[in-house]
């Protein structure tokens, strides 16, 4: 198992770092936030990111992508975590691309993927219905009506849901709430007039939406994957997405830690640098250890996805768990170690704290993944 990036993957990551530091540093995020930008990200920037090929990293070459794998994508996401760069990279290039790749038929793939790769088409995945991640808790229904399906229900915490062109909806076509059998996926055009999209203003100033579907009618050609049997695809896509968000969270933690270390080496109290106080040093050393463990968990999970390891599910839960725990710890400590300025809007550490908590909730928090890991390990 490869636990370090190869040369190509490393160079992609380096390019991403340079690009983001130049074109989308934290000041860029602040500008988007403070101008209450409608899409929640710069479309100009997304165009440039797509031109660099980032939208197509997980898309196969047959559909215009680069098939570069998760080791490539993870490196980029880690860098966007450091700069807090808002973009549809996660919702479109990870979630949308994986859903279409894994569930789509040739017509659907040819229709959507090349446009997704070029940056023209953005996507969102409408899955969650409650306050906590629960991929089987699906009550949104899709009823067959001759050549169509009619979808009714309500989705929440849909990342980039208000700005996406294509919404992929998980709906129940059979069975009861919480039954993994009987779930299907549908492609819904965001212009569908029976779709009510409410932008949720989140603490991290990123995009989420609540989506109400009232008699949304789609053709049977918009069924993505097998009828009733989407759950295994959903789990596979979620595993990719969990690793992706964990990579972003690793970047978030590393950067918040770096900023804090710098502060410890520059702020003086009692006539000395506060970094000389052992009460802070030992906590810094613990954060360092946790970040190192998280790094290993993330890279091994990225590798597992690329190698289609049969242990991907557990490694994905492992890395999301570590990413959650570590970013929770580091974000809190970063604020605390800054003293009063840490709780001001002017200092960046608060931004990392806010992003950290939202990312923790995405597709399962630490507790969720501890339970899942134990279940998968047969205890």
């Amino acid at each position: 198992m490869a636990l370090i990036l190869n040369e190509e993957q490393q160079s992609l990551k380096d390019i991403a770092r340079d690009f983001l530091e130049k074109n989308a540093p934290i000041t860029h995020f602040r500008e988007i936030r403070d101008t209450a930008n409608e899409t929640g990200y710069s479309q100009e920037l997304w165009k440039e990111m797509s031109e660099l090929g980032w939208a197509g990293i997980l898309v196969s070459e047959d559909y215009g992508g680069f098939d570069f794998g998760m080791m490539g994508m993870g490196g980029i996401l880690e860098e966007t975590g450091k700069t807090l760069t808002p973009s549809p990279l996660f919702s479109t290039a990870v979630l949308g691309a994986s859903l279409l790749e894994m569930a789509g038929d040739d017509t659907q793939k040819s229709n959507y993927l090349p446009r997704l790769v070029s940056g023209e088409l953005t996507t969102a995945f409408a899955l969650e219905e409650g306050s906590h991640h629960n991929p089987t808790n699906i009550t949104t229904s899709a009823k067959k009506d001759r050549d169509n399906f009619v979808i009714n229900g309500k989705k929440t915490f849909v990342i980039d849901g208000h700005s996406a062109d294509l919404i992929i909806v998980a709906a129940r076509t059979k069975g009861d709430e919480d039954d993994p059998n009987g779930i299907s996926l549908f492609c819904v055009d965001s212009n569908n007039k029976n779709l009510k999209v409410i932008k949720q203003s989140m603490v991290d100033s990123r995009n989420c939406a609540e989506i109400e579907l009232k008699n949304v009618t789609v053709s049977k050609n918009d069924l993505l994957g097998d009828l009733h049997n989407a759950y295994s695809v959903i789990e596979n896509v979620l595993d990719v997405a969990r690793v992706a968000i964990a990579a972003e969270m690793l970047g978030n933690s590393s950067k918040a830690f770096e900023i804090t270390l710098d502060y410890l080496k520059e702020r003086k109290q009692f006539g000395v640098l506060i970094g000389s106080f052992q009460a802070l040093k030992h906590r810094a050393a613990e954060m360092y250890s946790e970040i190192e463990l998280t790094k290993s968990a993330v890279v091994s999970a990225m590798n597992a996805i690329d190698e289609k390891s049969n242990d991907t599910a557990r490694l994905s839960s492992l890395c999301k768990f570590k990413a959650c725990e570590t970013s929770h710890l580091v974000s809190n400590e970063s604020v605390q170690m800054h003293g009063g300025v840490g709780v001001t809007d002017e200092y960046d550490v608060g931004l990392f704290l806010k992003r950290s908590r939202v990312a923790e909730q995405v597709f399962g928090n630490a507790d969720y993944h501890v339970d899942r890991y134990a279940t998968l390990s047969e205890y």
């Binding site: 370090i4 050393a285 463990l293 839960s317 134990a374 279940t375 390990s377 205890y379």
Partner: protein, 398 residues
């Protein structure tokens, strides 16, 4: 076939032909020495064969008796050994600590003299660092070595010397420059234990065992040629050796936990938990709070195992890992937690001291639990590791 494939094939064949059946079962590892103790005749054969090939120290250069293997070849050797369940032929502080330090700091003559004996397990080495007044603040040590012709004469006391009562030789930190600042007056000296000037007295641990001693030097002698790394330059050698020691200890922490591969689904900890608290209808550990603690611990074991692997990939062969302090800190704290969880899972069954009413395994867990408390003290305490990380790795000010 590539060279590595050929090497794998040859290694497999050699192991097949040379590893005695008894050595393919789990069991104790021999520590060698002038009066070696073998728990089975096969152990001696195995040590001799592996020692002749240098595969007790696979990556050491062959001119000093080592196996001369590259990092990749060594990995293959380890894989092939574990494939047949082959036991390690030899364990010792010589292999894990002294040897790597000698390879880096000793003169050619010193290497030629001391390394082959380590490879073949001829001498049992112990470590004379700590003193009653100098534990974490090791550099304050006061055991003196004074020049006398071709020799040094040593006076003073060491403490916590693991296996001093069984060891043949000791690598020792001694003060040779009493006027110098404390780090600049220390030398690294190799001393034979088999002389009237060296006596040992065992110390009993909370686990009831007595693996270490007080060591007294009363006009003991050592030849000048056995001073390693230069007069008053021993601190550099000492620190580097400690990094090797920390790497060794952090790897041990994994012995009971996962190794990062996660090959076995249910871990020992989970099995024990089910055995003592039962399982529910879904085959989950019946106590949900324990289950969650066990799972977290297993996940951290795995992340830690992967971290050691990753660091291994990033580090040159024979070099101490830059993350040694981190892995020593994390590995030992993690291992202590593992035993606390075993106690929690087993309840009063893990609290027996001896005799009836407990299985031998249960009694062993009690003793092992007590032994783990020393993990975060030996080789530098956890607090000292955190100091090292914050200073050396994070660059935080004094």
């Amino acid at each position: 076939m590539t060279d590595l494939q050929t090497f794998r094939e040859e290694t497999r064949n050699w192991l097949e032909a040379n590893c005695p059946p008894e050595m393919r079962k789990p069991g104790d590892v021999c520590w060698g020495g002038r009066n070696p103790q073998f728990s089975h005749p096969d152990q001696e054969i195995w040590l001799e064969r592996m020692g002749d090939k240098g595969w007790t120290c696979p990556t050491w250069p062959s001119e000093y008796g080592g196996g001369g293997l590259s990092k990749e070849e060594n990995k293959i050797l380890q894989e092939e050994m574990s494939a047949i369940g082959a036991r390690s032929p030899l364990g010792s502080f010589g292999i894990w600590m002294l040897g790597p330090a000698l390879l880096e700091f000793a003169t050619e003559e010193q290497k030629k003299e001391h390394l082959p004996g380590i490879v073949k397990g001829k001498y049992w080495w112990c470590q004379g660092y700590s003193e009653p007044g100098s534990g974490s603040d090791l550099a304050s040590l006061s055991t003196k070595a004074i020049e006398d012709g071709d020799n040094y004469v040593i006076n003073g006391q060491k403490i916590w010397t693991s296996y001093a009562d069984r060891a043949d030789k000791i690598f020792c930190l001694v003060r040779t420059g009493p006027q110098e600042p404390k780090h600049d007056g220390i030398s690294f000296l190799l001393i034979d234990m088999d002389q009237p000037g060296v006596t040992t007295r065992p110390i009993t641990l909370i686990s009831g065992k007595s693996p270490f001693c007080e060591t007294f030097f009363d006009d003991a002698t050592a030849p000048k040629k056995d001073l390693v790394g230069g007069l008053n330059k021993g601190w550099t050698v000492a620190k580097r050796l400690l990094e090797h020691e920390r790497t060794m200890i952090s790897n041990m922490g994994l012995a009971g936990g996962g190794d990062g591969s996660g090959s076995k689904k249910m871990s020992g900890l989970a099995k024990v938990s089910k055995q003592y608290v039962g399982e529910d209808a879904d085959k989950k550990i019946a106590n949900p709070s324990l289950r969650s603690k066990v799972a977290k611990h297993e996940m951290n074991s795995r992340a830690f195992g992967l971290t050691l692997q990753r660091i291994g990939e990033e580090t040159k062969v024979g070099a101490p890992s830059p993350a040694a302090a981190m892995s020593k800190y994390y590995g030992t704290e993690h291992n202590k937690l593992r035993y606390e969880l075993l106690l929690e899972a087993m309840g009063s069954k893990a609290l027996g001291w001896e005799g009836e009413g407990f299985t031998p395994e249960e009694l062993a867990i009690t003793r092992d639990w007590l032994r783990t408390k020393a993990n975060s003290i030996e080789g530098g305490t956890s607090e000292v590791q955190l100091n090292v990380i914050s200073k050396r790795v994070l660059g935080l000010p004094d």
